[in-house]
């Protein structure tokens, strides 16, 4: 069975290779090759899943050692895979949702002449993400980690002819690189601390604690913080969140893939996977929770102000990942719920994005919600699936989001003390804001009057339902959005499944679960009501009003991009420009100056050679005198 693990990665990787190298002759069938291979990977995942289910809870870790990758004296990195409950969960999510998005893309990208290449990149994305979650050591994980970065770069910048897309892709990669730096420092720290960075020895298992337990707290904190930096980059957490909004430049299926199944979930995976390290460092955990809490509010606030449907959803993703990170920072109380929310979020966020893509598909790629309105009549299926996703994300009781988010809020309170209150409060507030901005999206898109206008060429959009290949994935995902939460929570199935890997502890919450649920639901109603008051009862202006200070700030992503621009981009430009100058004038100048001064000296000495024999004689006479004097002087000394 272990030997199948590599196949999980190999299938999409093969797809990527074939599609990218194959060239134009595969244009006709390329999308099918990509989809089939993604689905094949899913099928292998299902086979492995049933195999795992057939084993006892302690026996559910499979490893596959392929070959020794980098063998150097004292340093050993292998290409080896580990499939346990945690990675299995991710495998199913990635391949499952991924395959659906492939299917969706067939229709969505139908008119793009580079569709084959798009599928190649999608397959590459899946392969990298699978490598990330299946790697048995941090270095191999790092390969997947950066592979995801590359694939996202290629996909975000897929429409390269648009400068904005190319810039967004570059930005995503660069911000991710900053995070990657954290990961590589973390690996180096592990190497110097433990002598290895393989999961087995470092993390150990529930029964046999790994080396992580032997290290000093300071080292563990350092490693954990560096891992957090990495997670911030991939999962778009403050302060490395800026790329996510711009990443909407990519085709919509890409956004769905990045936000639901891959990429942004990687950070959460990393933290949960490294539980043994984080558990050893309460300080680092505190930082993780703070980052999570700040991000969940940040994302939510940004989401409230965006008129671009995809950017609004992007803010929402940031916010939801914030929940997960917050949960992961809580330690054993929250790990399982972080992952559970991740999975449910995978369903409904994928559904929402595909829905948004479907809307755009029908609206000539218009993304401004102010130019939508009343679309429910034109796109019933999209409306239905989008609504279910909407209900799930705001945490409508009984749907997926309700179960997972509630648990996280509970766990936050269970952290105890002031911290617990603050974190729990933030989480609650976030829930209310989520309800507000998602309702806003719903209302602006599907309700009210139609607001679309002819574009500059005079083409008026003719909203229509999307083709079957696009709606089927949306329907499937809607099912997931509705039922996944309940399926996982009833009987603590998900908890029992993951617990052997992540461990679990019950917190000591100051609020009863019932109280939390009630408060959450109440806040949800408040959020929806506020949104309805503003966007449901009044017509939505086509041109955005100036808005309050907060609105304007939120529209500009709370000015953090401007900050980056001024401090990093401008500062960097000045630095490089001055360095170019320094290199030319100073470093080169010193050498050239030396050469010039030797040349100058030459010119001056040369004038001594004035052509007059008598002055030559003087030189000789003087030389002779000097010679005599020096010789005598030597004796005298």
């Amino acid at each position: 069975m272990e030997n199948l693990i590599a196949l999980l990665i190999a299938a999409p990787l093969l797809g990527a290779a074939v599609l990218l190298v194959g060239g134009r002759r595969l244009d006709a069938v390329g999308h099918w090759i990509g989809t089939v291979l993604a689905a094949a990977s899913f099928a292998v995942g299902v086979v492995l899943f049933t195999d795992l289910l057939g084993r006892s809870a302690q026996d559910r870790t499979l490893t596959q050692h392929l070959y020794s990758w980098i063998p150097v004296e004292g340093f050993q990195a292998d290409v080896a895979f580990r499939l346990d409950q945690l990675s299995m969960t991710f495998v199913l999510l990635i391949t499952g949702v991924g395959s659906l998005i492939h299917l969706y893309s067939i229709g969505y990208m139908e008119h793009d002449e580079r569709r084959r290449r798009f599928f190649g990149y999608l397959n590459l994305f899946l392969a990298a993400m699978l490598l990330l979650v299946l790697a048995d050591n941090y270095l191999l994980l790092y390969v997947g980690w950066e592979g995801v970065g590359l694939a996202s770069y290629l996909l975000i910048g897929f429409w390269q002819h648009k400068p904005s897309a190319a810039t967004a892709a570059k930005k995503a990669f660069l911000v991710n690189r900053v995070g990657d730096m954290g990961l590589s420092i973390a690996i180096m720290l592990m190497f110097t601390t433990f002598g290895t960075f393989a999961f087995g020895p470092v993390l150990g298992s529930q029964e046999h604690p790994g080396l992580a337990g032997d290290a000093t707290g300071g080292k563990l904190t350092a490693i954990a913080l560096m891992l957090l930096l990495a997670a911030c980059g991939k999962s778009a957490q403050v302060p490395l969140q800026s790329w996510l909004g711009d990443a909407m430049e990519g085709p919509t299926p890409v956004s769905a893939l990045i936000h639901a199944a891959t990429m942004v979930t990687a950070g959460v995976y990393l933290i949960v996977r490294s539980a043994a390290i984080f558990n050893g460092s309460p300080d680092a955990q505190l930082v993780v929770t703070v980052v999570g809490a700040v991000t969940l509010l940040f994302g939510a606030i940004v989401g409230c102000a965006k008129d671009d449907i995809k950017k609004a959803l992007a803010g929402s993703t940031m916010s939801q990942i914030g929940y997960m990170v917050l949960a992961a920072g809580l330690g054993p109380i929250g790990y399982v719920f972080a992952i559970m929310h991740l999975v449910t979020h995978g369903f409904f966020k994928a559904g929402l994005f595909l829905g948004a893509g479907s809307v755009m598909h029908g609206m000539n790629d218009e993304v401004d919600m102010r130019k939508y309105g009343g679309l429910r009549k034109y796109m019933p299926v999209t409306f239905a699936t989008f609504s279910l996703g909407y209900l799930a994300i705001i945490g409508f009781p009984g749907l997926s989001g309700f179960f997972s988010k509630d648990k996280i809020i509970e766990a936050a309170f269970a952290k105890g003390g002031t911290e617990g209150w603050i974190l729990g409060g933030a989480a609650l507030l976030g829930a209310a804001v989520t309800a507000f901005y998602m309702t806003r999206v719903m209302l602006m898109t599907f309700f009210g009057e139609k607001r679309w206008q002819p574009d500059e060429h005079g083409h008026e959009p003719h909203p229509h339902e999307s083709p079957r290949s696009m709606t089927i994935p949306m329907i499937v995902l809607a099912f997931g959005s509705v039922f996944a939460g309940g399926l996982f929570s009833i009987g603590d199935r998900f908890l029992n499944w993951l617990e052997p890997v992540t461990g679990h502890a019950e917190g000591d919450s100051p609020l009863s679960p019932m109280a939390v649920t009630l408060i959450t639901t109440a806040l949800l109603v408040v959020g929806v009501a506020l949104a309805y008051a503003q966007y449901g009862r009044r017509p939505v202006p086509v041109v955005a009003p100036r808005g309050s200070l907060l609105t304007r700030a939120a529209r500009r992503d709370l000015y953090q991009d401007d900050f980056n621009h001024v401090v990093l981009v401008r500062g960097g430009e000045h630095l490089t420009r001055s360095l170019v100058y320094v290199d030319h004038t100073l470093v080169d100048g010193v050498v050239n100056g030396t050469a010039a001064s030797v040349g100058g000296l030459s010119g001056r000495l040369r004038r001594l050679q004035n052509g007059f024999a008598r002055s030559y004689a003087v030189s000789m006479f003087g030389g002779a005198a000097l010679l005599v004097a020096a010789t005598l002087l030597m004796r005298a000394v």
Binding site: A595, S602, L605, R606, Y616, A617, L627, V628, T631
Partner: protein, 552 residues
């Protein structure tokens, strides 16, 4: 280490000549002096040829006589060396006047070969366009006629050539042969004059640019005579100090092995002031000949003005002879005094290396550039001279051998590049030569790289040998200065290469004349020696090392 012990490092014991009380019948070892005698004899024959052979045949006769003489003399040197006179049988011949030992034979051999190659360039008659149907060489038709005068035109029309250059060359060579092997100060002085005077004349004999040629001769002559006077005064002082002209005796007095016989002479004999001033003045004369700073100022002007074949010969052979004499003086006569002269020579070597290299950077005439380059090289050789070790001697010998062939080859190439006014020596005219005549440019580049001391050329092997000897002799700072000035020097060699290969050729640029086999041979020998000594120097290093022991 005692003075005696140090002394014995590079000298073999020979019977010290006793004080001469009366004039003995001279005992001359003709066989051992044969190289010199052959050349002198040929030179005299050359004079007779001038007198008795019809003008038309003189050129061939002279060329024949000279070539045969040089080859025969070289054969004699080889025979002597094979006979062990360079090593085991090394001794002092001709009543103490001439040393026949390794360095003598090595340097004589080098000078003779250089002279032979130089002779080929002297005899070249295809470069200049034919004048009135007569083939002409680089020398004036009639030196005595005023430039541009009717008499000169008549001489040119008559097809006169100055075939006297051949005997002059031979006379100069004979002086040079004696110079490094002179074993007393009188012989040294006479040899100095014997090789200098013909060179003064040769400098004045250029066919083209005669004013410059004459100016070069005047400068060379006046400054040379001036330097000779200093040399002679130095000799006088040394004689006053030691009471003898013989190297061996002076060395003994310097070492303190001869105590003054006559108390009355205590004031003069062994007076260190006489010794030191004498040594300084004598050294100055020799440093003038090698072109060391600050006695170098004649070099660029003379090198530029003299007919190029003469420049090449002079640059190569004079340096060999003069350094040979300097070596013998410092190693045989003055080892006991080395704590006095070494620091001074350090200074001279340093300013020579740096001065030559620095001033060369801004030169615009190829011949002047090579002149300054030769000054810098004199500095490098001085660094080896200063080593005062057996390796020092052999490294200098090797360097001289390597250097002389590069030099003569380089100047031979200079003779090829011509425009309407004769040789085009201004650097700007060399632009793009590599495109027009890749072969000539490549050959010249090889010589330049050898000058620059790039590995796989003889220049590198020589430089390495000299610097190594200096470092071993405790002169590490000299090596560092040498390396720095090598770097500076590299700049102008490279500048010429850039000019030749990477610059756009000028439309009115010079042409490269097709030489006769004579010059071709000269250049080919230069290239061959440069490469062989660069890639496989072992044999010649061995030779130099075997030859590195002075007799005393």
């Amino acid at each position: 280490m005692s003075a005696t012990a140090v002394h014995s490092l590079w000298t073999t014991a020979a019977t010290a000549a006793g004080p001469i009380s009366k004039i003995e019948t001279p005992k001359i070892e003709y066989g051992q002096l044969s190289p010199t005698l052959i050349v002198v004899g040929a030179a005299i024959i050359g004079v007779l040829v001038e007198a008795f052979v019809p003008r038309k045949s003189r050129y061939y006769a002279q060329l024949f006589v000279s070539a045969v003489a040089l080859v025969a003399a070289f054969a004699a040197v080889i025979a002597l060396a094979a006979g062990g006179y360079g090593t085991t049988k090394a001794h002092i011949a001709a009543m103490g006047a001439i040393a026949v030992d390794g360095p003598s034979l090595f340097l004589q051999g080098t000078i003779l070969l250089t002279a032979l190659v130089g002779l080929f360039t002297f005899a070249e008659r295809r470069l200049d366009p034919q004048a009135h149907g007569n083939r002409v060489d680089s020398f004036a038709a009639q030196a005595a006629s005023v430039p541009g005068s009717d008499s000169e035109k008549a001489a040119v029309k008559a097809g006169f050539t100055t075939t006297e250059v051949f005997p002059l060359l031979l006379f100069a060579v004979s002086g040079m042969l004696v110079f490094p092997s002179a074993n007393d100060l009188l012989t040294l002085f006479v040899a100095l004059e014997v090789f200098s005077l013909p060179l003064y004349l040769l400098c004045a004999l250029a066919r083209r640019k005669r004013l410059m040629s004459q100016e070069a001769a005047v400068k060379y002559f006046l400054l040379g005579a001036f330097a000779s006077a200093f040399t002679l005064f130095g000799i006088a002082l040394l004689y006053g100090y030691a009471g003898s002209m013989s190297y061996a005796t002076i060395a003994q007095v310097v070492d303190g092995r001869v105590t003054s016989v006559d108390p009355a002479l205590a004031g003069t004999m062994g007076n260190d002031a006489l010794l030191l001033v004498g040594v300084a003045l004598l050294a100055m004369g020799l440093l003038f000949k090698v072109g060391a700073v600050p006695f170098h100022m004649w070099t660029p002007d003379v090198y530029q003005g003299a007919p190029t074949p003469v420049t090449g010969f002079m640059a190569a052979a004079t340096k060999v002879a003069a350094f040979g004499a300097l070596l013998r003086l410092l190693y045989v006569v003055l080892p006991g005094l080395r704590w006095d002269w070494r620091p001074v020579m350090w200074g001279v070597a340093i300013i020579t290396m740096l001065g030559g290299a620095i001033v060369a950077i801004t030169q615009t005439d190829i011949k002047r550039l090579l002149a300054y380059s030769s000054i810098a090289h004199a500095g490098f050789i001085l660094a080896g001279v200063i080593a005062t070790t057996p390796d020092g001697v052999s490294s200098v010998l090797f360097y001289l051998g390597a250097y002389s062939f590069v030099t003569i080859g380089a100047f031979a190439v200079v003779t090829l590049v011509r425009d309407a006014g004769g040789e085009a020596t201004h650097l700007s005219k060399w632009a793009g030569l590599g495109r027009r005549s890749p072969l000539v440019a490549a050959v010249f580049a090889v010589f330049l790289l050898a000058f620059a001391g790039i590995p796989l050329t003889s220049g590198f092997a020589g430089k390495f040998a000299v610097f190594r000897a200096a470092a071993e002799g405790g002169a590490a700072p000299l090596v560092v200065v040498g390396v720095i000035s090598s770097a500076i020097a590299a700049f102008f060699y490279i500048r010429v290469i850039v000019l030749m290969f990477f610059s756009e050729p000028k439309p009115e640029g010079p042409t490269v004349a097709v030489p006769s086999p004579l010059t071709m041979t000269a250049i080919a020998v230069g290239v061959a020696v440069t490469l062989v000594l660069g890639v496989a120097p072992q044999y010649f290093l061995d030779l130099a090392s075997q030859a590195g022991v002075f007799v005393r």
